[in-house]
């Protein structure tokens, strides 16, 4: 009895969440204005900061792409993944190996990284279809743990634990940009394209199907949605996003090594989407800012145990904003508009 009431409450909560996420995907003038402002600021950034700061923002953009990919899978489709660091690594290594061994243009390698991860993700998603919740989290967790070892094992290709050193690509078409600036704009361009694609994907029929599978997969099946196909395709697309992010970060850092794609990276990505906001598109950006800058602040606070400070941040964040930054902002927005409306009515 009680448990079914509990279940009903949960379902109601989910429906409400779906409704808010649906609403946030619609085109609204204020939303458009906010997005345009953010993009303009992003375009202006290289003119106000340079060097390492700019590199950090390039990293924020790659994280944002990866987080968006993970959020597609975990947030919207309800498939937990603790192993997206593995796809990040596979993407990075695809790029590095193609440039280092075969001397292929870096632009193509980013696309290739996306395709490789799409295929690997789709193939991993197939058997993972039968797994739910915890079990899927475990399978992906072990994938993340195993990938660094596998990368070290195929030393001939990957350079073993030494990794592969790349050189940063120069700006094409005679543009007067430094390498860092060019990489930033390249990443920004890719990010904008991928965000628009995800937004378009999610607000239409496909997006509703994806969310329906998360909320109630039996009902979704009954309404004619091919669960198996959708779930494995979403897995593939999500992996592809993360792979592209990995490829871009490999270009930006100009170095890949197996141990940078350890389990901590996967954990970082998962914390990114939960902190940023589960099943929100803007959450990917907030989450990316968090995972890029908060560890640095933690380092400023305590040189000795930065990760302990980071862990405390994580826990406190979960207490204060259990629905992430996007959820928190949404709540603040509702409060503000509601009080404005009530003031209007009072007058």
């Amino acid at each position: 009895m009680a448990s079914s009431a509990d279940e009903t409450a949960k379902t109601a909560e989910r429906v409400a969440a779906a409704a808010t996420s649906g609403r946030s995907l619609a085109v609204r003038p204020l939303g458009v204005a906010a997005v345009v402002t953010v993009v303009l600021i992003a375009i202006a950034l290289p003119f106000v900061m340079s060097g390492f700061r700019l590199f950090q923002f390039t990293q924020v953009l790659t994280y944002a792409i990866a987080l968006l990919g993970l959020n597609l899978l975990t947030g919207y489709n309800g498939q937990f993944s603790l192993g997206h660091g593995a796809f990040y690594g596979i993407g990075a290594y695809t790029t590095a190996i193609m440039i280092d061994r075969w001397d292929i243009g870096y632009g193509w390698t980013v696309i290739a990284a996306g395709i490789v991860c799409l295929i690997v993700g789709f193939l991993f998603g197939r058997p993972a279809l039968r797994l739910e919740g915890l079990y899927l989290a475990l399978a992906t967790f072990s994938l993340a743990l195993a990938v660094p070892q596998i990368l070290k094992y195929f030393e001939h290709w990957t350079g073993g634990s030494q990794g592969i050193v790349l050189s940063k690509p120069k700006a094409p078409f005679g543009l007067r940009l430094t390498e860092d600036q060019w990489l930033y704009y390249l990443t920004l361009g890719v990010a904008i394209v991928l965000f628009v694609v995800a937004w378009n994907l999610l607000r239409g029929r496909v997006g509703r199907a994806i969310v329906a599978i998360r909320d109630n997969h039996i009902a979704a099946e009954a309404m004619g949605i091919d669960n198996a196909l959708y779930k494995s395709v979403v897995f593939g697309v999500s992996a592809a996003y993360t792979g592209v992010a990995g490829a871009l970060s490999a270009l930006a850092i100009a170095f890949v090594a197996p141990d940078s794609f350890n389990i901590l990276l996967s954990i970082t990505l998962l914390t990114g989407i939960v902190i940023g906001g589960f099943a929100t598109i803007s959450g990917a950006v907030y989450g990316a800012l968090f995972v890029q800058f908060v560890p640095n602040w933690a380092q400023d606070i305590s040189k000795a145990a930065p990760w302990a400070i980071f862990g405390v941040f994580l826990i406190v964040f979960m207490y204060v904003m259990p629905r992430g930054i996007a959820g928190f902002l949404h709540l603040v927005w509702i409060r503000l508009t509601a009080s404005a409306v009530s003031r209007e009515q009072g007058r």
Binding site: L138, S142, Q149, N216, L270, T271, V274, L314, Y319
Partner: protein, 293 residues
């Protein structure tokens, strides 16, 4: 043949350690549907505490008992202070909190004790024991013995004491248990305490083999996950059998399949998890849970 038996016994020894940690995971999972990703790190931290006590000159078995008690209290406090505020939140929120605990414990251990590996003593004589032609490590046999004792105690506790019954009831049906006057929330706390105590024993048994360092538990935790998956996350008995199976498989594959060796050992665990999940997702002893749509 001798080597085979030797490898199986040493597999059983490591398997016993995986079993203890897997049991800790399963206990918390059963009660709360949450996997405590910090379980291994909590065990590692307890082992460091034991190391400090040994450095202070306490005899081994006093240290052993003290560490178990401290770990129990520590686990209880972690549940009461850190986990309780997010009780009833979405599972992912709680998972993030346990991940936060993971990095906190790992970082604290590195900060206090540094990342340099430390030797940890074994309570058993270093001299190998010879039975017939076969040589057994005394520590291996001892670890198996301790695991068996602890498991028996745990079984007796859950089977024959009122408190054990109350804990099982709270895990199985929280609402009805509350109506019967069981303080469900405290039972969860006790579960965390017991799990932490188990982890501490596993940590103290494994530290002489892998040496003590803040990252010593990451691989072992993966094996514990594999063990819990093989046995089924809903069955404590399964966790134990799963742990032993994983330990033996890991040892035999490492010895007899030459291209795997020690480099791809973690990949073996990955393969085991995936195969079990594909063939029998609930594990060997798990129950299929049926949910109403």
């Amino acid at each position: 043949m001798d080597i085979l038996i030797q490898q199986i016994v040493s597999g059983l020894a490591t398997g016993g350690i995986y079993a203890s940690l897997a049991l800790a995971l399963v206990m918390i999972y059963q009660a709360t549907d949450v996997v405590n990703f910090a379980q291994g790190e909590m065990a590692m931290f307890s082992t460091y505490l034991a190391w400090s006590m040994l450095q202070a000159g306490l005899p081994y078995w006093v240290t052993f008992c003290a560490t178990v008690v401290v770990a129990f209290v520590g686990g209880l406090l972690v549940e009461r202070i850190v986990i309780r505020p997010v009780e009833g939140q979405p599972i992912l929120t709680i998972v993030i909190v346990t991940l936060g605990l993971l990095v906190i414990f790992n970082s604290m251990a590195g900060w206090i004790y540094s990342y340099i590996q430390k030797p940890f003593p074994s309570p058993f004589p270093p001299k190998p024991i010879k039975i017939g032609n076969i040589v057994f490590g005394a520590h291996d046999l001892g670890a198996i013995g301790i695991t068996l004792v602890v498991l028996t105690l745990l079984f007796l506790f859950f089977r024959f004491t009122t408190l054990g019954l109350a804990m099982r009831a709270a895990a199985q049906n929280p609402v009805s248990s509350r109506l019967c006057g069981i303080r469900v929330s405290w039972m969860l706390g006790l579960g965390w305490g017991l799990a932490a105590a188990f982890g501490a024993i596993a940590g103290m048994m494994v530290a002489p083999v892998v040496f003590l360092d803040p990252n010593m538990m990451s691989g072992i935790q993966l094996y514990a996950f594999a063990a819990a998956t093989v046995g089924g996350f809903t069955s404590p008995m399964g966790a134990v059998v799963g742990g032993l199976l994983v330990g033996v498989t890991e040892n035999l594959v490492g010895t007899y399949v030459s291209f795997i060796g020690t480099e791809l050992k973690l990949t073996v665990a990955l393969a085991m998890i995936i195969i079990v999940l594909l063939v029998r997702p609930t594990g060997l002893f798990g129950r299929t849970t049926v949910r109403r749509v």
